[in-house]
C-alpha cells in the first residue's frame, strides 16, 4: 500500500524537501506539501521588493510549478495527531476541516515573529517576513514622503522622515540599505523635502552589525552604510513604540512613523501546539533530522534545532537558519526518510557554509566566499548573480534580471500601491503627552480607553471658555461620529501611556446600525442630540 509523506511548509526547507523526496522515491509514494500560500517566497529578495527594485510577483514562484508530481495543498495547519498519524487543516477559504493521513511527516514551518515583549511594537512595527510585509513597507515609505511633502507641522514632518530598522542582521542591513536607496532615488520628486531632513537608522542590540560575518566585513558594512548617510546605533534595544515614536532601552525617544522590526523570531503557533521536544525555541531533532523519540517525524529549516556535532557546545554547533543550509538539509532529509522506509541506516546531516553574502544597497555588498572576503561592487554583483542562479524557473530569472536592468536605467517608481486597509477594530498605543486628535481634525474613529487615561479639551466657540474632562479605562470618546460628524470639536491628549481600542467610522456605524446592545447603550447620546437611529451616513 502506498506510503504517504506529508511536508508542512513551502519555504526553502519544505519546498526542497518535497522536491528531493519526489526525486528519491518512486511512484509507490505519495508526496504532499501543505502551505498557507500557494507560492514559494524567495526570502532573500524581500528587501528588494520592499524597495521596489523588483515587483512582488517576481520574488515568488507558484509551488505547483516547482513541485511536479507533488500534491500541493493551500491550507493552514490546525493540529497534528501523532497517534492517529493525521494532520487536521483548513484548506483555502474552506471552513470545513480536512484530515490528511501520513506515514512520515516533515515539519518545515519556519519561524514567526513575536514582538509582544515590547509594548506597542507588535501593533506599530512593520515586519519583513512575508511578501505582504515587503509590499507594505514600500507603500509605507512612499506614504511618508507624500506626507512630509505636504505637512506643515515640524514634528510631524520629522517623524515622517525618520525611518528606523530594528535589528542589524542580514535582514535588517539589507532592508535598510534598500530602503535608503528607495528614499534617495525618490526625493527628486518631492521638492518639499530636503535630503538632510531624512534620517535612516539601524538599531542593533549587539555591539556590532552583521554578527553572522567576520568583524572585518561587519566594520566594512558599517562604514558603507554610514557613508550613505545611514545612522547605526549598536548596543541599542527597543523599550516601546507608538504610531509616532520609538523608545530605546536607554530611554532615548525617536520621533518616527516607520519602525521595521527584523527581530523577534519565535516558533509559530502551530509548532507550539504540536508539543514536540523543543530546544533553543526550535524543534529538537537528532543529527539525522528526525525528531527525538519518534520514528516518522522529521523537521528542518528555521523551525528545527539541528546539531552539527554529537556534542554541540554553543550556537555555532547548530545549523544556522539560512536558505543555504535549509536546501542541504532537505537533500539529507529525503535520503534519510527513504532509508528509514527501507530500514537502512540513517546518516547525520553535515555541511559547512560556503560563505555569506549581504547587499548594502546602492550597488555595494559584502561577501565571504570559501575563505575569500569581497566588498563593494564585486560583492554586490556576486550577491545578485548568486541569487539569480538560485531563483526557481527560467521565466522568473529573466524577469528579475530585466527588472534589475530597467531599474538601473529608469528612475525608481514612487507609485504608492494601496496595501491592506487597517482593520476596522484595532489597538493603538499613545505615550503620555501624545495627541490623539485635535479640534477641526477629520472625524475618523471612535475610541475606548483600555488602559491609561486621556484628557479631552473643549473650547466653547462663543465664549472661548475651555472645559476639560479626564477619560480613564472603560471610558470612551468620539461617538459624535454616530451623528455623521465629519470634524472633531474637541482636542484629546494622552496624559499617561495609554492603550486605546479604535473603531473606524464604518465599523462603528455598522455596529450602531446592526447591534441592539450597542444601540441601546448609545440611545442616551442619541436622545441628547435628538437624532434617530440609524444615522444618515454622509460618505
Amino acid at each position: 500500500m502506498t506510503k504517504r509523506i506529508v511536508v508542512l511548509g513551502g519555504g526553502f526547507g519544505g519546498m526542497y524537501a518535497a522536491r528531493a523526496l519526489r526525486r528519491r522515491l518512486g511512484a509507490g509514494y505519495e508526496i504532499e506539501l501543505v502551505n498557507a500560500e500557494n507560492y514559494f517566497v524567495f526570502q532573500p529578495l524581500l528587501p528588494e521588493v520592499g524597495a521596489g527594485s523588483i515587483t512582488p510577483a517576481h520574488a515568488v514562484s507558484p509551488l505547483r510549478f516547482l513541485l511536479k508530481g507533488v500534491y500541493v495543498r493551500k491550507a493552514v495547519v490546525e493540529s497534528v495527531d501523532f497517534e492517529r498519524r493525521i494532520v487536521t487543516l483548513f484548506q483555502g477559504i474552506q471552513r470545513r476541516p480536512t484530515e490528511v493521513a501520513f506515514d512520515h511527516l516533515v515539519v518545515a514551518l519556519g519561524q514567526s515573529v513575536d514582538l509582544s515583549r515590547m509594548p506597542g511594537l507588535e501593533e506599530h512595527a512593520l515586519k519583513m517576513k512575508t511578501l505582504e510585509d515587503a509590499r507594505r513597507l514600500r507603500g509605507h515609505v512612499i506614504e511618508q514622503l507624500e506626507h512630509a511633502q505636504v505637512s506643515r507641522v515640524p514634528e510631524t514632518k520629522r517623524g515622517a522622515l525618520t525611518f528606523c530598522v530594528v535589528g542589524g542582521g542580514f535582514s535588517g542591513v539589507e532592508t535598510v540599505g534598500e530602503m535608503k536607496e528607495l528614499i534617495d532615488r525618490s526625493l527628486p520628486f518631492y521638492p518639499g523635502i530636503k535630503p538632510e531632513e531624512v534620517r535612516v537608522i539601524v538599531l542593533e542590540f549587539a555591539d556590532r552589525i552583521l554578527g553572522e560575518m567576520s568583524p572585518k566585513l561587519g566594520d566594512y558594512a558599517r562604514a558603507q552604510l554610514e557613508a550613505h548617510g545611514i545612522e547605526i546605533m549598536t548596543g541599542t534595544g527597543i523599550a516601546s513604540a507608538t504610531g509616532t515614536q520609538l523608545v530605546t532601552n536607554k530611554g532615548e525617544i525617536i520621533d518616527t512613523r516607520t519602525i521595521v522590526a527584523t527581530i523577534g523570531n519565535a516558533p509559530s503557533a502551530v509548532v507550539r501546539r504540536m508539543n514536540l521536544p523543543v530546544e533553543r525555541g526550535r524543534i529538537k531533532v537528532d543529527r539525522t533530522l528526525r525528531v527525538e523519540g519518534t520514528d516518522n517525524i522529521w523537521a528542518l529549516g528555521d523551525c528545527a534545532s539541528i546539531p552539527l556535532t554529537d556534542a554541540p557546545q554553543g550556537p555555532r554547533d547548530y545549523a544556522p537558519p539560512t536558505a543555504q543550509f535549509a536546501v542541504r538539509e532537505a537533500k539529507r532529509l529525503a535520503e534519510n526518510v527513504a532509508a528509514a522506509i527501507d530500514g537502512a541506516p540513517l546518516e547525520p546531516f553535515a555541511y559547512r557554509s560556503r560563505g555569506a553574502l549581504a547587499s548594502l544597497g546602492a550597488r555595494r555588498g559584502v561577501a565571504q566566499v570559501m575563505g575569500l572576503e569581497l566588498t563593494g561592487f564585486p560583492a554586490w554583483l556576486l550577491w545578485r548573480s548568486y541569487y539569480l542562479m538560485f531563483l526557481p524557473g527560467l521565466a522568473t530569472r529573466i524577469q528579475v534580471l530585466l527588472n534589475w536592468m530597467l531599474d538601473g536605467l529608469s528612475p525608481r517608481s514612487v507609485v504608492q500601491l494601496r496595501t491592506e486597509t487597517p482593520p476596522g477594530v484595532r489597538h493603538i498605543y499613545f505615550r503620555a503627552g501624545d495627541k490623539v486628535y485635535e479640534a477641526g481634525h477629520r472625524s475618523d474613529g471612535f475610541y475606548m480607553v483600555i488602559s491609561g487615561a486621556v484628557e479631552m479639551t473643549k473650547e466653547d466657540a462663543a465664549t472661548g471658555k475651555v472645559s476639560k474632562r479626564i477619560i480613564g479605562p472603560g471610558g470612551h470618546f468620539g461617538e459624535r461620529l454616530i451623528l455623521g460628524a465629519t470634524r472633531r470639536e474637541t482636542t484629546v491628549h494622552a496624559i499617561e501611556d495609554t492603550k486605546l481600542l479604535e473603531l473606524d467610522r464604518e465599523a462603528f456605524l455598522k455596529l450602531a446600525e446592526g447591534f441592539p446592545a450597542f444601540r441601546e447603550y448609545f440611545e442616551p447620546y442619541m436622545a441628547k442630540y435628538n437624532v434617530k437611529f440609524p444615522p444618515e451616513r454622509n460618505v
Copy 2:
C-alpha cells in the same frame, strides 16, 4: 499676482488637462493637480492586470513623473467653496483639513460605481474601476481554482468554477476575455478540475454586447467569445446577489462565487456634494467645457456631460466617456482656460472618434479604425500597439512590452498574492435556504441579524436529539467565539432572504475585551459558561 489653476482628478481627463495647461501657460501661472492616489492609472490595461498578463506596477505611472512643473497633491477632496474659491481637502494620511485657493477649477473626478440598487451586489460583487480592483480580481480567480481543486462538495465546486461578468461593454468584454484566458492557462496546474466544469458568463442587459461598436463587430466579438467557451446572456440583468449566488431579472439563479460588476456608473460623492448643474448624471458643461453659469469652473472626462452639437438630440450627440475623448477634451480645455484668462473668445470642443478597439483575450480583438473594421489577431495586435504607444514613459512601455513577450513564452503564474483582508465588521447577504455555517466548521465569525431570519439546529451529541431555534432581526449567534471556541456546534440556515452583520473573531474579541457595554451585554453568556473576561485567546 500669479493665477492658480487647480485640477481635481488624475485620470486621463485631469492628467492631460494639467499637462496641457502647464505647456500652454507661463511661469506666472501655478498649476496644481489633486488626486486620491499618487499615480495615474492606465485604465485600458486593468483587465490585463486582472488576468496577470502584466503586473499592477506596470499599468500605472507616478503622477509626479508625468507632471513636471505641476504641484501634485495626494489628497481626497472634501468640498469646494465656489464663493471663496477654495477647495478643502485631506492630504494623504493627514487628519487636519487643508484649504487650497483657485482662480480656475477643473473638475475631472471621473465616475464612481453604485451597485446599491441590487441587494447584495455592492457587498458581494468585484469591481473593475481601480488598480486594486484588478489585483483583487486576479487573486480571487486563483482562489476559486484553489478552492475547487480541494472541495469535495459538488455545489461548492460548481459555485467556485462559475465566473460571472455583469455588463457587456468594453470593460466587461475585455475583462471576461482576459479572465477566461487566465483560467484556461492555469487549469493544467489544477488536476482536480476538468475544463468542462468551468463556466464563464457575461450578462448584458441590452440585446447585444459591445453596443459602442457596429453590430457586425459586436456579432464577431460574440462569436469569438462563444468559440472560446464563454456564455453570453443578453437581455439579462441582475436582481440580487449573495456570496454564493446571483439572481437574474428573469429569476434564474446561478451558483457563483465570482461576480464582476462593470456596470453602475454614477457621479462620485464629492461631485454630488458640489451641487453643480447636472445632466444625465454628469456635470453640465457648455461646448467650451465650462460649467454653465460660471466663468471659472470647468469639467471634462467621465464626470462631465459634454455636448458635441448646439442642440444635442440623443446620447450620440454627447462626448462618450473614453480615454480617447478625454485626452482631446483636455487640450481644448487648456486652450479655453488660457483664452478666458486673456479675455479671448472660447472655442467649442469638437472631435470625431478615430475608432474603437477591444481585446477579446486569447490574441483576438475587434477594431473599428477610420472606417476600417478589423478582427482577430490583427485587431488584437493593433490594440496592443496602440496602447503601448499611449503608455506614459519609455521605461513603462519597455516593461509592459517585455511582460507581454514573457507572458507569451512562459506559463501564466498562478501565484495568489493576498489582497486586502475583508473588514472585521461587514454586511453579508444570504438567500432563503443558504447555509451560514454548519456543525464542525471553523468558528470564524459572530453574527447579528439585521433583516430576515435564520434557523439554528443543534444535535445533542449524546442523545442525538435535535433542537431548533429561530433567530430574527436584532438576534445574534456564534458568540461561543468568546470562549475561544474554534469549531461550530450548531448548524445555521437562512430561512428568509437575510442580511447579517458579521464580526470576525479578532474584532469580536477586541470589543469583548475593550468595550464595557459589549462586556456587560455578554456577561450572562459568560456566567452561563462560567468563564472570566477577557477570555484566553488561542490563536
